[in-house]
Subunit: 145 residues, 2 copies
């Protein structure tokens, strides 16, 4: 198997795991990612749109649904009356934390069979690839999820 095929297959594998874990927590993959981003702290809508690589209008619907499900809410910003900040509710924080634990465990299982040497080689190679191409924000966004 050549490296390009391996990369595509790996991506499919990880997307599948991400989708499965999300579903297990009764979240869509995008919702799960939103919660994980917000775990780092509140974010403005435009900020989130940039992180997700989508238009601002897409965030409106995303937050509407998260809000309807009681996972997040919008809070006004004191100094700028146009701006809103997406913030986790307590339920949202719990859901995000639980998801994070679960997805981390599942993905760790993926590399758990490698020798520690091979694991470190892999980690280093991936880190180098990401470092060199960090221009692309895209899906995958910030932090871990």
């Amino acid at each position: 198997m050549d490296v390009v095929t391996a990369l595509i297959r790996l991506t499919g594998l990880i997307q599948g795991i991400y989708a499965r874990v999300s579903e297990r927590h009764d979240l869509t993959p995008v919702q799960a990612k939103l919660l994980c981003v917000l775990l780092d702290g509140p974010r403005g809508m435009a900020d989130l749109a940039q992180i997700f690589g989508v238009e601002r209008a897409a965030l409106t619907g995303l937050m509407d649904r998260a809000e309807k499900r009681g996972l997040a809410h919008r809070v006004p910003v004191p100094r700028d009356r146009r701006a809103l900040q997406a913030t986790l509710t307590d339920a949202g924080r719990e859901a995000a934390a639980a998801f994070h634990v679960d997805i981390t465990a599942e993905l760790n299982r993926l590399t758990g069979d490698l020798t520690s040497d091979a694991g470190e080689h892999l980690r280093a190679a991936l880190a180098e690839i990401i470092e060199r191409h960090r221009a692309a924000p895209g899906p995958g966004g910030i932090g871990c999820c």
Copy 2:
């Protein structure tokens, strides 16, 4: 950066590249994947649904759109009058081939900076991970795309 974070970031990076290349060829990522799968030969609808990890009903819409765009069409199966086979048109075959060349080049650039030693280590590690978890078909499906 730990290996789990690296895996998620890499997945985001590759999804972004896949989306960008698809768009460059005026395809959605799912359409691009459909064309790539069909490049290996005609497939039944149920077969495709299984490869894509979706319900059969989803394939109906997918093929409707591909057919409307002149990229693929359904051909009857002689021995089973219930069955249909999704087949590429000439335009679809050309689009699939062009996409394949492009995505392969883009993804090769991703690992092009690695030393040949590091590249081989990476390839081997990914191949082992995929081998051990090949149970999951999921998105990523068959072959390269």
